[in-house]
Each structure stands twice: as C-alpha cells, then as structure tokens.
C-alpha cells in the first residue's frame, strides 16, 4: 500500500509542485491550505508523513500545528498522531532573521526536518525517504 503524505501549505503552486514530485514517487497525497484544515485532515487521512508550511493564515500557523500534534498530554485529541514525522517547509528563517536547527531547537519546535523554499525535487524526495526510512 502506498504511503500517505499530507501537505499543509497555503501556496497552491508549491503544493502542486510537491504533489507532482511525490506522486511520481508513488506516494498518496492529501492537501490542506490552512493549519486548521490541516489538523482536520490529519484525523481523516491518518498520514504517514506531514509536510508543513509555517506562514499560512497567520505567521505562526505551522508552528501551532506542530505543537498541537506533538502535545505531550496523553488525553490530547491528537495523541494518536504524535509520532507522525513532520517535515517543515518554509522560508520563514530568512523572513524573521532566525534559523531553526532541528538538532538544537528540537524541543522548542517539535519537527523532524526542515526543507527550504524554493523546493528542490531531489532534496524533497531525499528528506521524505529518510523520514519514512524507505529505501
């Protein structure tokens, strides 16, 4: 069965670019254009990986999605989705003048990996494969 990937990003063209690349690599793609919609979709499709933008309906929508999903509260409505790997994609680091380093800021920002915009197809596949430990 193909692995399911949920892309949460408000830029339809970026979503389309990623969808083409990932579908060509036999992934099943679902999309959401806001953080709130993304959280709903997580429950519906139960993805194996989530690709997450940062600035959507507001500047930190993506951060909030990641915090909701990784909430340590065992009774959280997203408790069963806590272990889904998160790939954060954004140019936010340049925009705000700070850079996230998943090794350093892991606790602060609970995502597994970062991908910068513009999206380079080979880079995207490499990171997705690594997160799903797919050969």
């Amino acid at each position: 069965m193909p692995k399911r990937i949920l892309i949460i990003d408000d830029d339809a063209d970026i979503v389309e670019a990623m969808r083409m690349v990932l579908e060509a690599n036999d992934f099943e793609i679902s999309t959401a254009f806001t953080g709130a919609e993304g959280l709903e979709k997580v429950k519906q499709v139960r993805p194996d990986l989530i690709i997450l933008d940062v600035m959507m309906e507001d500047d930190t929508a993506g951060f909030r999605v990641s915090w909701s999903l990784r909430n340590r509260d065992p009774h959280s409505e997203y408790a069963e989705y806590r272990d889904i790997p998160l790939l954060m994609i954004s140019a936010v680091s340049e925009m705000k003048g700070f850079r996230f380093d998943p090794r350093r800021d892991g606790d602060y920002l609970p995502v597994n990996e970062f991908l910068s915009k513009p999206v380079m197809p080979l880079d995207l596949i490499e990171k997705v494969d690594a997160l799903l430990s797919r050969e």
Partner: protein, 455 residues
C-alpha cells in the same frame, strides 16, 4: 545617551542637603574658636560662644529631621533666618560692628543666592541689614552692651552716629550688590542649563523619530521582499519539477527555455535576499539577540564552506589568525554576511592559480583587524571611493562577471559599522585588492597571549 532632567524641586532639595552639611563645618569651626579664641583674646566667653555653637547644632539637627518632611523653599528660608540670628548674636559677642564675623554675612549672602530665587535673596539680604541695624541700636542704647575687649576701643566707634550710618550703608551696599551679582550669574547659568536640556530633549526626540522611521522602512522592505520572494520561490519550485522530469519528458528547446527562466529567477532571488541583508545589516541588534561567538571557530566554519568554490577555480585560500581566544559579541549571521561577501568576491574576481588570504591580527585597542587580500583583477583607482555605494559595481568587475547586484560591499560596510567597526580598501587594478576589517572583540585574558599562529 543620558538625558536625565533634574526637576527644580530635586535640585533644591539637593542644595538644602548640602547647606545642612556645610553647617556642620561652621559648628566645628565655631566650637574650636570658642576654646582657642578666649585664650588669645581676653574678654571672649567660652561658655557664650559654645552655647551659640550649641544652638546652631540643635537647629541643624532639627533641619536634618525636617529635611524630608517640609517644603524645601520654606526650610531654606527658615535656616537662613536662623543663621542670620546666630551670626548677629555671635557678632554682638565678639565686638559688634568691629567683629571679624561680620564678614560671614557676605559669605552667607553668596550661599543663599545659589540656593533660592532672586526675590527671596533680596528679602533675606534686607533681613540681614535689619538685624545689623537692630544690633547696632541695642548696643548703642546700652540695652545689650558689648562685652569689653581690652585693648579695643569699641565704644568709641559707637559714639559717632555718622560712622554708624556709613557702616550700615556700606554693609547694605555690599550685601545687596553681592546678591545682585551672584543671582545674575546663577540666573544665566540656569538659563543656559535649561536651553541645554531643551536641546538635549529635542535631539533625543529627533533621534527616536529617526529610529522609528528606520524601523518602519525596514519593516516595509522586509514585507515587500517576502511578498516578492514567495511567488518566485513557487515559480522556481515549479520550474524545477519540470526540469527534473517529474512532469514528463521535455525536449531540449523547452529545457533551454526553462533553464534560462530559472537562471533569471535565481538572479532575482539573490537580489531580494541581498536587499534583505542590506536592511538587516543596518539594523541595530537587540542585546538579547547577541551571543558570544568564538571568532576563530566561526570564521573557520564560514571559510570551510567556501573552500570548494576556491578549489574549483584552483585558487589557494589561506587563513591565519592569532592563537588567542577572541570573542565577538553579536549575531553569527552578521559575521557570515561580512566574510562570505568579502571572501566570495575575492574568489570570484581572482583568476585561477591566484591567492586569497584572510589574516587576522589582534590590536592593542581590542579590535580585531582582518585583512582579506587577493591577487585578483583589483579595482580602478578612480572607482575605489564608490565601491561601498549601493548597487555600484566596478567597471572591470562588470566586464569580468555578468552576475552581481552591487550590494555585497554595502551590506558588509553597514554590518561592520553596526558594531562600531570599520572597513578600508587598498586596491591596485590588475594586481589585487586588500580589504581591512576592524571589529571590536573581547579577549579572554586567561588564554595564552599572541604567540604562535594556527592556520
């Protein structure tokens, strides 16, 4: 900038405190005189002099207690009045109008001129004249006779009414004229001080406005740059998908068109990124965003990322720095901006087999001097003063490399100057360029001083 404004009330209470403190010295002096004076001059009474000192001591203690509770101006006037009274009694005890203590009236007049306003001073000066008059009257009429001092014929002076009148007149003249002179000077000084404070306030307000304006401008540029970058990032992503063949096969002609489009997009992205850097370079960094950066490690790291580019062009990249622990307080990205641009340019404009050297030297004034030198195409002498201008590119640089925004060196200069540093350039066309960067650093003392070099 320290632009404290001391309100008049505060200033007055400071002066009041000073006034009370000065009085302790007066009391000490008088106490000493009451012991020594009678030994030297017959007719003076230790007990009487000591009791005057005692009274002054008592009311000074009282004022010390009241200092914080009463109205300051009121307190100053009370003190001066009591001082006049004590001084009059002291003069009476030590020879009336012939007492040398009469001179202390003038001293006191100067003091109150500094303490209170002009009208109050004249009123107090008038009081002192009245007191001297009363003293003379009670002494002349024999109500309170002056203690006899053998050898001084004081009584003779009191027999001549014209002399007494002249005495009072000149006393009044000296007191009033002194008040006039002193308060004039004090007033002038106060006016100048007020002007200075107003100026300072205006200056700090204008400065604040400029800072806000600059922040607004930076916000605007950031927003615009972001708005430009998002669609370009999307465009480049889409082009990449097509170029990498994820949208099916494309023929060579289409590929060529896509490659050209992507190149222009990257060019534009670079420009936007550099514009952002230019804005950030000029922004002062809040203290919480600064960190202590080990300069040697940071620059080694930056240079190691550029080694590949140098090797590709067969350029020898060399780095030397003193073997001292040197800390730079700031943003590591700023260091990156400075050295990536300088060393990147050096590699870009140096022909193969050339040299690019980065040499650090610690100066005595705790500035780190970095020289970034190359054996590249150099900069024409006439154009050297303009290389740090925004969007300026040297004519030979344009010929040698088509790509380039002309923003790199202005970013470097702005970033360096943000930290209070400096950049200088020596260049000879056809021979090479040498940039000298001065950056303020902190030297860790317990490390071995400048000795060997590591490279």
């Amino acid at each position: 900038m320290d632009l404290r404004f001391i309100p008049l009330e505060r200033e007055l209470s400071d002066r009041l405190h000073w006034f009370i403190r000065l009085r302790w010295f007066a009391i000490a002096g008088l106490t000493m005189f009451s012991v020594v004076g009678p030994l030297l001059i017959q007719g003076l009474s230790t007990v009487l002099l000591l009791s005057i000192a005692g009274v002054i001591l008592l009311y000074n203690l009282l004022f010390l207690v009241l200092e914080k509770r009463w109205n300051v101006t009121y307190l100053i006037h009370c003190q001066v009045l009591l001082d006049w009274l004590a001084l009059t009694v002291l003069c009476h005890q030590t020879g009336g109008i012939d007492s040398p203590f009469v001179l202390f009236f003038v001293f006191h007049v100067i003091l109150i001129s500094m303490l209170t306003n002009r009208r109050g001073c004249f009123a107090q000066g008038f009081m002192s004249i009245v007191l001297i008059c009363i003293m003379i009257v009670v002494e002349k009429t024999g109500l309170f006779p002056i203690p006899e001092i053998p050898g001084f014929n004081i009584a003779a002076h009191y027999e001549r009414t014209d002399y007494l009148l002249l005495y009072i007149l000149s006393f009044a003249g000296v007191v009033m004229f002194t008040i006039y002179l002193t308060t004039s000077i004090v007033q002038q000084l106060r006016q100048r001080e007020e002007k200075l404070i107003t100026l300072q306030q205006n200056l700090s307000r204008s400065y604040q406005e400029l800072v806000e304006l600059d922040a607004a401008k930076s916000r605007f540029v950031r927003t615009v740059a972001h708005e430009i970058r998002s669609p370009m990032a999307a465009t480049q992503s889409l082009l990449r998908v097509a170029l990498d063949g994820f949208a099916g096969d494309i023929n060579e002609k289409v590929r060529d068109l896509l490659v050209r489009s992507e190149r222009r997009i990257i060019q534009l992205l670079d420009l936007v990124n550099e514009l952002l850097d230019l804005v950030r370079g000029g922004q002062t960094l809040p203290e919480e965003d600064k960190s202590d950066i080990n300069v040697y490690e940071a620059i080694s790291r930056i240079l190691s990322h550029m080694e590949g580019r140098a090797e590709e062009k067969n350029i020898h990249l060399k780095f030397r720095m003193p073997d001292t622990q040197v800390i730079f307080r700031g943003d590591e990205q700023d260091l990156e901006r400075i050295f990536q641009n300088l060393v990147g340019n050096a590699i870009k404009y140096t022909p193969p087999k050339g040299y690019v050297k980065v040499i650090g030297r610690l100066r005595r004034d705790n500035f780190l001097l970095f020289k970034v030198c190359d054996t590249g195409i150099g900069i024409p002498e006439k154009e050297v003063p303009r290389v740090f201008d925004e969007f300026f590119r040297a004519s030979n640089a344009k010929r040698s490399q088509r790509n380039g925004t002309g923003l790199g060196l202005s970013i470097v200069k702005k970033t360096i100057e943000k930290y209070g540093g400096q950049i200088k350039l020596h260049s000879k066309e056809g021979k090479g360029s040498c940039f000298s960067v001065y950056l303020p650093v902190i030297v860790l003392k317990d490390e071995p001083p400048l000795k060997g070099y590591r490279s």
